[in-house]
Symmetry: C2
Amino acid sequence: MSNGSGAEDDVSEASPLFSAADFTPFDPTQELIFPPELVSLTKGQRSGSLRFHGDRVAWLQPDSLDEFLRLKWENPDARVVVGNTETQFVAAFKQSPRREDDISTVTAAMSVTFTPGTNVVEDLRLSYGGMAATTVLAKKTASRLLGRCWGEELLQEACSSLAGEMTLDPSVPGGMVTYRRTLTLSLFYKFYLMVLLKLRKQGVTVEQVGADCLSAAEIYHPETPSSVQIYQAVPEGRSQDDTVGRPMMHLSALKQATGEAVYCDDVPLYENELYLALVTSSRAHAKILSIDTSAAESMPGVVSCVLADDIPGSNATGPIEYDESVLAQGQVTCVGHIIGAVVADTQLHAQRAAKAVRVQYEELQPIVTIQEAIAAQSFYQPIRTIQRGDLEAGFKQADHILEGEMHIGGQEHFYLETNVSLAVPGEEDGEMELFVSTQSASKTQSLVAKALGVPANRVVVRVKRMGGGFGGKESRTTVLSTVVAVAANKLKRPVRCMLDRDEDMLITGGRHPFYGKYKVVGFLSSGKVVALDVSYYSNVGNSMDLSLSVMERALFHMENSYSVANIRGRGFLCRTNLPSNTAFRGFGGPQGMMIAENWISDVAQSLGRSAEEVRRLNLYVEGEPTPYNQILDRFTLDRCWDECLLRSGYQERRAAIDLYNRQNRWTKRGLAIVPTKFGISFTAVFLNQAGALLHIYTDGSVLLTHGGTEMGQGLHTKMVQVASRVLGIPCSKIHILETSTNTVPNTSPTAASASSDLNGAAVQNACEILMKRLEPYKSKNPKGSWEDWVKAAYFDRVNLSANGFYKTPDLGYDFESNSGRAFNYFTYGVACSEVEIDCLTGAHKNLSTTIVMDVGHSLNPAIDIGQVEGAFMQGLGLFTLEELHYSPQGVLLTRGPGSYKIPAFGDIPTKLTVSLLRDAPNDKAIFASKAVGEPPLFLAASVFYAIKDAISAARAQSGITGPFRLDSPASAERIRNACSDRFTELCPPAEPGTFTPWSVRV
Amino acid sequence: MSNGSGAEDDVSEASPLFSAADFTPFDPTQELIFPPELVSLTKGQRSGSLRFHGDRVAWLQPDSLDEFLRLKWENPDARVVVGNTETQFVAAFKQSPRREDDISTVTAAMSVTFTPGTNVVEDLRLSYGGMAATTVLAKKTASRLLGRCWGEELLQEACSSLAGEMTLDPSVPGGMVTYRRTLTLSLFYKFYLMVLLKLRKQGVTVEQVGADCLSAAEIYHPETPSSVQIYQAVPEGRSQDDTVGRPMMHLSALKQATGEAVYCDDVPLYENELYLALVTSSRAHAKILSIDTSAAESMPGVVSCVLADDIPGSNATGPIEYDESVLAQGQVTCVGHIIGAVVADTQLHAQRAAKAVRVQYEELQPIVTIQEAIAAQSFYQPIRTIQRGDLEAGFKQADHILEGEMHIGGQEHFYLETNVSLAVPGEEDGEMELFVSTQSASKTQSLVAKALGVPANRVVVRVKRMGGGFGGKESRTTVLSTVVAVAANKLKRPVRCMLDRDEDMLITGGRHPFYGKYKVVGFLSSGKVVALDVSYYSNVGNSMDLSLSVMERALFHMENSYSVANIRGRGFLCRTNLPSNTAFRGFGGPQGMMIAENWISDVAQSLGRSAEEVRRLNLYVEGEPTPYNQILDRFTLDRCWDECLLRSGYQERRAAIDLYNRQNRWTKRGLAIVPTKFGISFTAVFLNQAGALLHIYTDGSVLLTHGGTEMGQGLHTKMVQVASRVLGIPCSKIHILETSTNTVPNTSPTAASASSDLNGAAVQNACEILMKRLEPYKSKNPKGSWEDWVKAAYFDRVNLSANGFYKTPDLGYDFESNSGRAFNYFTYGVACSEVEIDCLTGAHKNLSTTIVMDVGHSLNPAIDIGQVEGAFMQGLGLFTLEELHYSPQGVLLTRGPGSYKIPAFGDIPTKLTVSLLRDAPNDKAIFASKAVGEPPLFLAASVFYAIKDAISAARAQSGITGPFRLDSPASAERIRNACSDRFTELCPPAEPGTFTPWSVRV
């Protein structure tokens, strides 16, 4: 029962949806999100009526006839909104990029009234949201259909009429023009089917709805997901104190759940502390003509503005090349380029004043997309190549040749904790203490020192933990921390800044968008690939950052897990006017492998063979060399593959899917099994080192410090386990306080999945040194306690502090000679995923995923499986959901959770099984374990290729076969558009170049 | 020109002395000090008049006759105050414990007017300050002398009359009853002489003043001191980068001079920080009946009161024995015993509220003095003994036997920076970070952990620098830091407390008062001492603290530098109701040696022989054993002795003094040369260890951390020099940030003079480890820079962090068997001092001191000589100036700089020469250096014995010869009282036991 606003007085007891006051002051960069969960919470357990009270309307849902009659009597003018009555049929549809917590792409509410007992349309209302600034009615179409019978003819008429009526300007905000137009038809078709079914149920004579179309009339209700974790138990009889291999809970888990865990911004405020807000460029490429801070400086609370001239040391900065500036001077090269900062007493004052800084620009032509960069040959040097075998001979040998291309979109890190820095100047000798949420304490230290013009030994960086990093805090944190340090140095007062989400998304870059083009893939009729020539283009942005290494890793993974005798991969770094892209879990590897999976599935498709068979046929075997001449030994991928086939019930599933697809026209299921092989090591050899510092205090308690940082991944927990085993004491006696540059220097960033390997070995080293020193006291008093031995050693003046170190041996790949070991070892995994797509809307369901992962002897199965699940879901976001939209002028349009969608609960596969491969010790890393952080991410490609498999089935039903292009992410839009059918034919896209799109694919 | 208050309007242009408003709110525990330096600043360079404006009076001092006449015209009622006019003679005298910046003991202003042309007294006014609550006139005496002639007869009459008139109650506040009474006579005698001289100059016929009395009529004007520093230059050709052995300036010297140096209380305030004020006992010994915090808790700003129940861990605490409580429970055992604390938003609020906490006591009988403890046999166990040789045989062999005793007063550390702690709770896992001004970071850490009931690995203690320590921050800092930590833990907010000076003096203890009794010293007629039996009694206070070790060190130094074949020393630890006494530079050694110097000078005196000869005769020679059976090798004391004799011109000086003393009755000069031998090592063997942590960052800058703390002594400077030499880089590349328990654990306190030895060797160890690692890169690129090598090593993954360690070898004295090496080596020194005493007032002048010190090859002569000078002056305070006064009920009466006097500029010897012994390498410590912190302190005994020598001359003139007792310090009171003469005879002391004295000698 919906009341017009006039009836508000009558429903005073209704609960307001929310109070507008609670949300002021309204931040225009943030979107208000109404969580539908609040509504669905009551589902299935509702007793009593529901009342919601919005600004203009109140909804009252009676629970009984009595209540309905009472309400109608109390609100005689209220409209009655009901399900289908005998003559009126109403339905509403919402299609959004993500099922939960998202604003719609297109909504539709449709109502049809028939002449009683007939299928003759007496009244028809088709209203659409998302097709104009406000909800619109398709009046022309509706009036055209009045008096017509509800049937195939009407449907065709409706569709062609709607296609003509529900148009969109090709430049319309929000984009997705073809998709949105198609949706108006698709949703009507769904309505058409639903009404048809209802009419038939009422006994009205209408056309029969085919059994294959029934599923199109159903509304998705995701099932509650369930998951299974399988890992190997530790051998019986092992001491309970030795937690290595046991699923010990993350040491901060409880604190993080209760909110007690301390993050950088929880460092108590200093009394004289100031807050900093950044001033950033609004232009992608421009000369700076002037910067006027006078208005800002006169605003309340403002203490100072900081510009490039305030940098006492060097303005040149950057994690490897110094090709960036701390604060822009002369020109800006991306939107979000940091020009300056305003420092004030409060965050509000600083941010307000930052907006008042006036920058005059002279605009220059920006390069935004990879394609623009290719056209302009705007590349950073060098262009990397890995080549092995004889390409020409390979292609000669091939029975078939195909080519293809793919674009893989970027990804925002979306760590829960945005970038934050607190700089506390030390008042003498240029000393400064920084609290930073960073994966790279040492890089933070050296870049601050460089900007301040002091030696690194004056700067201490402390990191307790991060609220997520994902590579986004490997290098880009320094763009903030350095500015904060410059401000603190200028004002000699503590300065803090935590970026708002929109600032963080705007400024700090993300995963590189990639464009892959395999000019030629040569393969035999068996499906065996014998030659490959592939080129990668990454959208690097306005500075090098780590992009060369990212591209290198893409090339190192260009064959994924497939043996290709004759191969060449080249990597081009596109210099564009976007914020510099950076490390992101996988570090180019997923993009590299994604192209490989694309051509391997193309090969299968072009041969019409099972993709599983073709993949299996091409899989490496033990002892084969990679394109970079690394011999694969202790190769477990085949075992993972077999176990995954078995655990997923692949063959039965395949058969069931094929049956389902034959039986359903508008929903299709797809299946894919995808392997991954992830090389473990920093490809920059010198980074493969780690240090640790271990103190045993006289009470026997142990303070452990190592070079790695905790970002939620459980590194500290694992390190405590390692120390606990070597020292032979319970974990409770060991504490890790933080990571800091004055305890363990010159640390590599916590990255490349290798932090447990590297720091674990360094911790082991330190512990072994101390155990050796304690040995005499243990021998002398074998029945004594740990505390006894420690005390005896202390009084005997034994050094109870040790510095541990580790460097990975035998590394040193050389691109010139294509020789030397690039990786210490590989982590392997296989995933099999099943999905169902709604061909009409492009929505999909993740039905099932089975992962088998070789992480060696897991140090901690709870943490490792958490990493596998987390990485998989993050990959799932990358390949199916997350989309950054940029305007053609390089302005990021998606700056918050309202417009940028990471996976939600409903995106978790309904059945998710993770199994750690049994009996697979790794002789290359600590306690036979393997790195786990990044490798599983790519397994989400199984979902992508399952979707592609489902789309193929849909296309096949439209008579289209063979390879087709599907870019990543496989968003609802792309899925829908790829499922060519009678509806899509009615909504052809506008001719490219004839309009300026709302957003461009960068 | 002094105006009555009525003339204030007329002198409006005069500068006020100070504005009372500037000093409010007035803290009654602090004394206002008007620094006379401000006045004397203008001395010798004045041009123009001086104007001072007090509350009741203004002083105008004209510069010319014209100005005088103008002023007199403007202020016709103003009194003219001038020097002696023709008939009126005026003089003023002030006697105070210290010459500068001190309130007087007794002042006198005297005026006599004669019948013109005669010596007949027409008017006489004798006013005294310090003899009653206000200034008093000796009216009876004055009227008795009217009409009398100014001559010997009048003098005698005046003295006996004054002695009768100017009496003091034996319990009078301020004490020094005999001395103050004597001063009234002595000062009159000075006036008498001055007037006599003036009259004679005017041609009036009066008695001749003997030439030997002339100096008594002079007013002391200390000369500007000059000093000479002599040290060995480094060999020519040594690299300028190698600063070892060069007089490099203390690295913080400039910062400390400008005030930029950061101390603990300079740590910026946290926004939610609270301030703590202690609640301490006002009773020396009592049961606590109740503690009522209700009034305090209701006062403004108060957040919480902290009592024993708030301690989550253990209330038992103490640096070695846990015989103390963090907060008193049940009873208090000294005035100043910490009972609780009040935590409030500001210092003022906390301190006000702390005073409002009501504690009800049931008083118990306190033991305050050593003598009371001996009477009550109130001793801590054990009673230590060191014995060697055959005492009985020794005494048989002796030609003479004497006995004696001496009391050595305690000493307040008087570090410029009082105790301060800031505790910042970490919000998780019981973590806490403390900033503390302490010599002992590790002890602070472990006692905080104990009180909080957490392992030590949760507590980080950071020490940047101290504003002085002197042993006072070795263990007693924990009484504050632990309470602050308990409060911070209770409230989960940062809590800070810096003690006010009066609190610090009241609570934290000081140097142990000692009473030494040598029952028998046997010696030959040559002066050679052959047997000694000595007992030491120290006033330990209400807990053990470090007192056993202090006593042990006293015993280890009981023979100072003298070979005594048959010897026994025993040490008794007196348990008293004073705040626990603790470490203080010298650590019992000075007290031990002081007694030795007393008996050796007694031997000389009883034989009537030169003290120098007797000392020299008894000096150890190379290869002799100490009483604790340590063989003296590389013995340089004889070289020091000879050089000191030479540099001081001892023999000429002796002759000149003897002549002077023959020529002067009321001023006497004295001379003494005193050796010292100071054992270097912690006598608790396990403390002789040290650690260091060295990081080389990739820019080549070095961060050095070691276990020692910087308290102004220059340890960090020396450590940087050591690292600089071993690493072969300039000091500018090396930085020390702070001392902290999370970088170098289990550190021994910075104490026992051994911190350069211990930490220096640990630093050397760390540096050598790193140099070995860098060696291949130096060899490969010999022309490269330090930065080149570091970078190459880093990229080659060399561990650029090293943990260094050192423990002193071959230590392990055992009291049971009297065997094992107690010390690593000895630091030797000899000082010769000349003084002049004013027999009438007890004042003395330090004329000259020559010190020759063997500090091996000095690491830094500037710092070492600074240490020698500083230690000497601190010893000079101990032995001649500083006196803590306690009431018989154990209440400390001297709680600030107003009543407790450390040496001032005027106490520096007019000529001070410090020479570091040349060519004396020490093979036992870093770079052939020797420890220097404590050893020179005792050399101030040369001043004491020079004073005693001068007193002997005075006594001789009164016909008294032979040994006499002079307790330490040789204060003006004691000097005056020891110079028995016609004036002292008139003022006999009251019979002990017939009255309750104001203060007792504890």
